[in-house]
């Protein structure tokens, strides 16, 4: 697991690391990353260039998806985003502050 900044107290750091490790160890998961509200990756298991690409593009797409849902019904909000492609599936769990992105190669 690549840590980019060792910054906050160990108490929370350990919990964060463990959670991400659990997610990463699921069947078929290729990569996991956490991106902040500006689209800057905070945690990742992939290499730098791939991470930067995913973070930037998916952040924009998530914002667009969120505004689409809100425009259709202002009482509604985006809870989860999934993109299925020929090769794998990208899952994005959005939040006010962060995005969790998981890439899985599902069993065919």
């Amino acid at each position: 697991m690549k840590t980019l900044v060792n910054f906050f107290p160990d108490l929370f750091q350990a919990e964060v690391e463990e959670t991400l490790k659990r997610i990463q160890s699921h069947k078929g998961v290729i990569g996991t990353m956490v991106v902040n509200a500006e689209g800057i990756p905070i945690r990742t298991t992939l290499d730098n260039s791939t991470t930067v690409q995913y973070a930037g593009l998916l952040h924009q797409l998530t914002m667009k998806a969120k505004s689409t849902v809100r425009d259709i019904d202002p009482q509604n909000d985006l809870t989860f985003l999934r993109i299925r492609s020929k090769k794998h599936e990208i899952m994005v769990a959005p939040d006010k502050e962060y995005l969790l992105i998981v890439i899985q190669n599902p069993c065919e």
Partner: protein
């Protein structure tokens, strides 16, 4: 005193006035009973004609004015100032993550706690889901059949009855070149021959008129474009020479030739290769994974695994100035006749195909001598076999019966998926090459001297979902 009557009469205002004047005149002589100077006199009325209302002649004068003709003159202006500037591309910097801003640890932990359950649920569902089984989306227009896009030929070469002995696509995928020669001549031949190239992207492509033609002194047996320079092509001749041409220079295309020395191949060069073997080599293919590894097809029918890094010196019949090495490392089980073509898989390091005069194509793994599969594709010879550059399980074969056959190992391992007839009279197809840039194109040259460019259907150009795994499975069927 006598006042003389003034003979002053300004107007005939009344005769009384005139009388009065006359009277006054006479009065002085007669002398009325009045004293002289204090006499009342009535004078006439004087009138002055008006000058104001008189008709005045309108005095006018004619004047004209004319603008002078407009004078024009042309002058040109050229800015003379210039500034020099330089541009330099820089090597791309490796992407580094920007420095991470401060963030709230507990908040991140709280966020992950919140989403973990949902994400885990979705991951598990995905793993077990069959929702998308067999669901395929086609973004590009599907081409259903294989059809012939171009039929290219060079009439002077056809007039001499020459065959197309080699085709090659250039590095950009827009030019196809072919070598003319004869494959059935057993003797020395002093036939003059041609190497022709057609630029398929040019407008106004004339199929009978190549964009570049090079005359060569003897029959050309094989051809290969430079892997990165789009206009350089190398060809091997029947006389044993190897020549390199630059097709973008029509006046003097020849760049380099080996010349006829004692060292040159005194036997015909059948495929440009970087090595020689004491056995009659008929075909060479380099591995895409290991640049020093190559496979030779031989006249004896057995493929040889060879390496450029072999140290052992070769035993030769004649002394040569260039030290020769014996590169052969491993011999595979033979075909029933000479091997005319070998091709290494671009997707798997151990797999290669060989095709020969027995009409069979063998799929070999580098790890064992016996072929993994043997396919009978033709009742006559097979002249060329090539792996597809995009689909790991697809290869094409050129048969002596005039067919181009496309095999998809995923669909059937026994018979070809598509078989197209190149020549009507069943004269053989001698060579074929896939276009690596425009992956739907396949060029094949035949004994009638024509090169046909085939457009493949979409099933041959898009990689399927699990092809690499299937190929791995195939390769691992090695008998232990």
């Amino acid at each position: 005193m006598a006042t003389s009557a003034q003979p002053w009469q300004l107007g005939l205002a009344g005769s009384a006035g005139a009388e009065a004047l006359a009277t006054s005149g006479t009065a002085s002589t007669e002398g009325p009973e009045r004293p002289g100077p204090l006499q009342d006199e009535t004078l006439g009325v004087a009138s002055v004609p008006s000058q104001w209302r008189g008709v005045q002649g309108i005095r006018g004068e004619t004047k004209s004015c004319q603008t002078a003709s407009i004078a024009t003159a042309e002058a040109s202006v050229q800015a003379r100032k210039h500034v020099d500037a330089e541009v330099q591309t820089e090597a791309p910097e490796p992407v580094s993550l920007p420095s991470v801003p401060r963030y709230n640890g507990p908040q991140l932990a709280a966020f992950l706690r919140k989403v973990e359950a949902m994400v885990t649920r979705e991951l598990n569902k995905n793993w077990q889901s069959h929702a998308f089984d067999g669901f395929e989306v086609n973004w590009a227009e599907q081409q259903q059949t294989v059809n012939c896009l171009h039929t290219l030929s060079y009439p002077p070469a056809q007039g001499q009855g020459l065959h197309v002995t080699g085709v090659s696509w250039n590095s950009t995928g827009s030019v196809v070149a072919c070598a003319y020669g004869r494959l059935d001549d057993g003797d020395w031949s002093t036939l003059r021959s041609f190497v022709c190239a057609w630029n398929l992207d040019r407008r106004g492509l004339s199929p009978q008129q190549p964009s570049a033609v090079v005359e060569v002194p003897s029959a050309a047996m094989c051809l290969a474009f430079h892997p990165t320079r789009p206009s350089h092509v190398a060809g091997g001749l029947y006389s044993g020479e190897v020549l390199v041409w630059d097709m973008s220079r029509p006046e003097d295309p020849l760049l380099w030739r080996t010349g006829l020395t004692d060292d040159t191949h005194t036997d015909p060069v059948y495929q440009p290769s970087r090595g020689e073997a004491e056995v009659g080599a008929t075909a060479v293919a380099f591995s895409s994974f290991d640049p020093s590894l190559f496979v030779l097809g031989t006249e004896g029918g057995f493929p040889l695994k060879c390496s450029l890094s072999a140290e052992e010196a070769a035993v030769t019949r004649m002394p040569s100035s260039v030290p020769l090495r014996a590169p052969a490392q491993f011999t595979f089980a033979p075909h029933g006749g000479p091997v005319y073509s070998v091709s290494c898989s671009p997707f798997h390091r151990n797999l290669f195909l060989s095709a020969g005069t027995d009409g069979h194509a063998h799929l070999y793994s580098m790890l064992q001598a016996q072929p993994l599969t043997s396919l009978q594709l033709s009742h006559k010879y097979l002249f060329a076999v090539r792996w597809s550059p995009v689909r790991p399980l697809v290869f094409a074969a050129a048969s002596g019966e005039g067919d181009v056959q496309l095999f998809d190992l995923q669909k059937s391992s026994q018979k070809p998926t598509v078989s197209v007839k190149q020549t009507e009279d069943e004269s053989p197809v001698y060579c074929l090459e896939f276009n690596c840039q425009q992956t739907q194109l396949l060029a094949a040259g035949d004994a009638k001297g024509t090169v046909k460019v085939w457009q493949l259907s979409s099933e041959f150009t898009e990689q399927g979902a699990r092809e690499t795994e299937l190929l791995d499975q195939l390769a691992s069927e090695v008998a232990s």
